[in-house]
């Protein structure tokens, strides 16, 4: 058709993969075409289960035995499908290398990192041991691992997640591959570490000139990295285009929905655009367009036959109405139904506009729901297997201040290990904290009697991150939702009346009360969790990463629900998340934690638009934006290294080891201040709701 002279580096044609299931084969990939040219980055996005990983694994011939594969995968014109295992192994690692989501699975735990990388070198190159080791050190240096010579002798478990991911990239590029396949390489990492690793991937690509196939569910990551993007749904590519084109003018309703569903760091307010329904069941797909059940544009002809991937040069979409979308260029909210959010009924939230609730001067007049000051919690660090000796302390929380008023949402942000969950558990214990003071709804937690504590439990409920783990798998959801009511000794009739009411309130069918958690999808389970938390009409809901286990399109629905419930019931939320975009979208105030301490807090737009603490600034700059143009134009503040270990109590500022401001301080006296004096959480002006714990804040 086209007159390309150059054969593409990698050409996948009509790839089909089926897995053996209990009731016959279940398709995972259903006819995928991909083309990767030399040196380019192809991004693959889609919800979990859409077949992204299986596609990537197929290229390497790494599928399990239960899979059957059809179609063609050509590397430089050479067919890989059907190649004997030995020849595939020679290509794997040499010409095509893979970076996995979980780097622990790629390293053998009992061998040193250096030996494993050196071995990867020696498999494909005729060099001696010493040379291979030198090469390994060079590679570790290239991916930014400090003291590479020493790192060679470390074991995988001695590395942090980010370091392991770098080491795996080092191993992947050991033989100058032509293609790097990265399957969700940063999904398990914190944003600042993610930014580092993505940077390393760019470096690696630059150094080796390899093409990169980047699989991710995160549109922001894709926007920042990819040249071209393929969107997958139900085992097929439903749209593919250049990255700018795709984000600016999507031609498939699914892509449009995905873009609308992501909460954004830049700009706020308004409900998100949830894609209704759940991903198509792969075991029994409908005839016709697999997206039809969720598509607001669906017509009769959509269910007649599955639309082919079609369109003009470089921008293809598998939708019968793609031409129309290309012409009309609607915004996501114009296509997908967006729920109306009720106005807030919070007692003093006069205007009803969330932005002004926290900003308005009457904040002080509203009842405090939660007031925490100087909270601290240490865990003993034990050593020895038989006789446990205490060898030190982990300062998990070391100076947290929180302030939450009625009807507000306080976002608590911080990287993993910064002490967010410990803080929550300290609050929920309803007992005297180790140090500091907790005041809940006007009660001092230290002075509660048992009966008072039990009563207070009803005012304070929690929603956990992983709905599958937090719902008893052996209880029907009706019983699960009734549990807090039973714990508060509610009458039988009250329980029987409340359960269907609650299920309806969170958008579930009350008739499903007799079903068990595993019969629901992730988003629905999180709704069950929310219903359970609401059962006893609490005043404060503690949400511990409530949406981070969910796909974006599902997440949007849950976030909208939370916003609606808050307005309707006048709840206050303490919302913990590592995702700053979600916080920005939902919270009125935000509190940023680093190494067990509150480093910055204040009204959300003040903190996000004018961050004062260097850590907050770095955090914000590390969040990928789902907008390729903006993403390219940004300056990024890359933080060096990992957070230090919380087993040491640092004098002075705990952020010093990674602080770019401190690193840039010329005056030794100024540096000494950071080293010796612990910065207090103070504001620029007392009137403003915005404080930072830094000696040299940005003003």
């Amino acid at each position: 058709m086209t007159t390309t002279v150059e054969t593409p580096l990698l050409a996948v044609r009509d790839l089909r993969v089926d897995f053996a299931g209990p009731h016959g084969p279940v398709p995972a990939v259903r006819g995928v075409d991909l083309t990767v040219r030399r040196g380019e980055t192809l991004g693959i996005v889609g919800e979990s289960g859409s077949g992204k990983s299986v596609t990537a694994l197929s290229v390497l011939g790494l599928l399990p035995h239960t899979a059957s594969l059809h179609g063609s995968v050509r590397l430089d014109g050479r067919e890989l499908v059907g190649l004997p295992g030995k020849e595939l192994a020679a290509i794997r690692g040499h010409r095509v290398a893979m970076v996995f989501q979980d780097p622990l699975s790629a390293f053998t735990p009992v061998y040193r990192i250096g030996d494993q990388i050196a071995e990867a070198v020696r498999i494909h190159q005729p060099v001696d041991k010493a040379a291979a080791r030198r090469r390994a050190a060079e590679l570790l240096d290239l991916v930014g691992i400090p003291a590479p010579e020493r790192a060679l002798d470390s074991f995988p478990h001695e590395f942090s997640g980010g370091m392991r991911q770098r080491a795996m990239i080092a191993m992947a590029i050991a033989n100058d591959p032509d293609i790097l396949l990265a399957d969700e390489p940063t999904t398990a990492l914190d944003v600042t570490i993610q930014a580092q690793v993505l940077d390393v991937l760019r470096t690696a690509q630059r150094e080796t000139g390899a093409a990169l196939v980047l699989v991710s569910h995160d549109l922001g990551v894709i926007a920042g990295m990819a040249d071209r993007v393929a969107v997958m749904y139900a085992g097929r590519v439903v749209e593919t285009a250049g990255v700018d084109e795709l984000f600016a003018a999507p031609r498939h309703p699914y892509t449009l929905g995905l873009i609308g569903a992501v909460p954004r760091l830049d700009g706020r307010g308004g409900p998100l655009v949830p894609i209704p329904g759940a991903p198509a069941p792969m075991a029994d797909l409908p005839t016709g367009c697999p997206f039809a059940a969720r598509c607001p544009l669906a017509e009769d002809r959509c269910s007649a036959a599955e639309p082919e991937l079609a369109g003009d040069e470089g921008h293809l979409a598998a939708c019968v109405r793609s031409a129309e979308l290309a012409e009309r260029r609607p915004a996501p909210a114009e296509v997908f139904p967006v729920p109306e959010l009720p106005a807030a009924v919070g007692s003093a939230a006069g205007s009803g506009d969330r932005g002004s609730v926290a900003g308005s001067g009457d904040r002080g007049s509203r009842a405090p729901v939660l007031a925490v000051s100087g909270l601290g919690k240490t865990f003993p660090l034990l050593k020895g297997t038989v006789f446990k000796r205490k060898v030190g302390e982990v300062y998990a929380v070391d100076g947290v201040d929180l302030d939450l008023r009625e009807g507000e949402t306080l976002g608590l942000v911080g990287e993993s290990g910064s002490g967010k969950s410990t803080t929550l558990f300290e609050l929920l214990n309803l007992a005297a904290p180790e140090t500091g003071r907790i005041e809940l709804l006007g009660h001092d937690a230290a002075a509660l009697s048992r009966a008072e504590a039990h009563r207070l439990r009803a005012e304070l409920q929690i929603v956990f991150q992983d709905p599958m783990a937090s719902l008893d798998p052996r209880m029907p959801i009706g019983d699960i939702v009734a549990e807090p009511l039973r714990a508060q000794h509610a009458a039988r009739e009250e329980i029987a009346r409340r359960v269907p009411e609650l299920l309806r309130q969170v958008g579930l069918d009350p008739d499903h009360a007799a079903r068990y958690p595993h019969q629901f999808s992730g988003g629905q389970r999180q709704r069950v969790s929310i219903a359970r938390a609401l059962a006893v009409r609490p005043k404060l809901l503690v949400l511990d990463e409530p949406v981070s286990a969910l796909d974006v399109s599902i997440q949007a629905g849950v976030l909208n629900l939370l916003q609606a419930l808050k307005a309707e019931l006048g709840l206050s939320y303490l919302f913990v998340s590592h995702d700053l975009s979600v916080i920005r979208h939902l919270a009125d105030r935000v509190s940023v934690m680093y190494l067990g301490r509150t480093v910055e807090q204040g009204e959300v737009s003040a903190v996000f638009d004018r961050p004062r603490h260097p850590y907050t600034r770095a955090l914000l700059s590390a969040v990928p934006l789902p907008d390729p143009a903006a993403e390219r134009a940004r300056d990024r503040i890359l933080l060096a290294g990992d957070p230090p270990s919380p087993t040491e109590r640092h004098t002075g500022c705990p952020f010093r080891t990674r602080c770019p401001v401190y690193a840039g301080l010329a005056d030794p006296a100024a540096r000494t201040r950071c080293e010796q004096e612990r910065p207090a959480l103070v504001g620029d002006t007392p009137a403003q709701d915005h404080q930072a714990a830094c000696h040299y804040p940005e003003s």
Partner: protein, 309 residues
């Protein structure tokens, strides 16, 4: 915070309780194996307690005119070496063994699950004390103790014997339950219940035990057969069930050596024991599936996924 209550919501009447208990029962009743097992156990009980009325012979009184007779119209299961009617003996033995097997399994499982779950859940001091008890009982030669104690308990009869057997039969199970509980305790759903103010014992009964139920049930079904057999061993040494009284165990012990020549002395008792253990296993399997919602239930699968989230 009265907004919700003010909403004109669902008809408040008709509290359809679809709690777990009822769901499990429904699933159990629709599992064919479990129902068959239960029917079989009921039939065995009917035979054990109704059987003596069907025959004119008494299990103890010998018929000196018929020694070592094979089954006949007179003596349905034949007679033994001293002319006792094997049918009368077998149903009498069945009475004892059914009761001993089921009760010992029940008592020891309940004890094991409570002790194990409490030790695992509360940890610390409770754990140490309970595990010390378990270890103590484990190192005690249980048979020796039963031998010493059981003569003194003669007057209290078989129930004391059942309790004794149960008392020496739960420790390993308790240890396993404890370690399963320790890992369950840190699971989020247990934590969630704790933060909701659910009391510890309720958490144990409503969350911990159902989640170790598969293990407990398998263990209990094995314990039924085990109890019948350990009763045999004890009876063999002259404790527990004493002649002229009989149990399936004593009958088997007596009949084993004679089985090649006088098969009726062995096979009727053995067959009933096998039936009994089989029936218990069927019930156990059914119960396990009924408690485990992921085990392919009789109806409703998947369709929940279609609902909009």
């Amino acid at each position: 915070m009265t907004t919700v209550a003010a909403e004109p919501t669902a008809p408040p009447a008709a509290p359809r309780t679809t709690g777990r208990g009822r769901l499990v029962l429904t699933r159990l009743l629709s599992a064919r194996g479990a129902v068959a097992g239960a029917v079989l156990v009921l039939l065995l009980f009917a035979l054990a307690f109704g059987g003596p009325y069907l025959t004119p012979w008494d299990y103890a009184t010998p018929d000196f005119g018929a020694l070592h007779q094979p089954p006949s119209a007179e003596h349905w299961f034949g007679t033994n070496g001293i002319g006792q009617d094997v049918f009368a003996q077998t149903v009498r033995g069945l009475q004892k063994s059914l009761v001993i097997g089921l009760l010992v399994a029940l008592f020891s499982t309940v004890l094991a699950s409570l002790v194990g779950a409490c030790a695992g859940y509360f940890g610390g001091w409770t754990d140490r004390a309970l595990m010390f008890l378990v270890d103590l009982l484990l190192v005690f030669p249980s048979f020796l103790i039963i031998t010493i104690v059981s003569p003194r308990l003669k007057s209290t009869g078989w129930i004391a014997f059942v309790l004794l057997l149960a008392l020496f039969n739960w420790m390993i199970t308790a240890r396993v339950v404890r370690s399963m509980t320790i890992s369950l305790r840190e699971r989020e759903f247990v934590r969630a219940a704790r933060f909701m103010g659910v009391r510890p014992l309720r958490i144990i009964t409503r969350h911990i035990l159902p989640n170790v139920a598969s293990f407990l049930i398998i263990d209990a079904t094995i314990a039924v057969g085990g109890a019948v057999m350990s009763e045999t061993a004890l009876s063999y040494f002259g404790f527990g069930v004493k002649a002229p009284d009989v149990s399936l165990g004593t009958l088997l012990a007596a009949g084993t050596s004679e089985a090649p020549v006088f098969p009726w002395l062995f096979y009727f008792a053995a067959g009933l024991l096998v039936l009994f253990v089989l029936a218990v296993n069927l019930i156990g399997d059914g119960l396990r599936d009924a408690l485990d919602p992921t085990a392919g239930g009789p109806r409703r699968r998947r369709s929940a996924r279609r609902k909009k989230p």
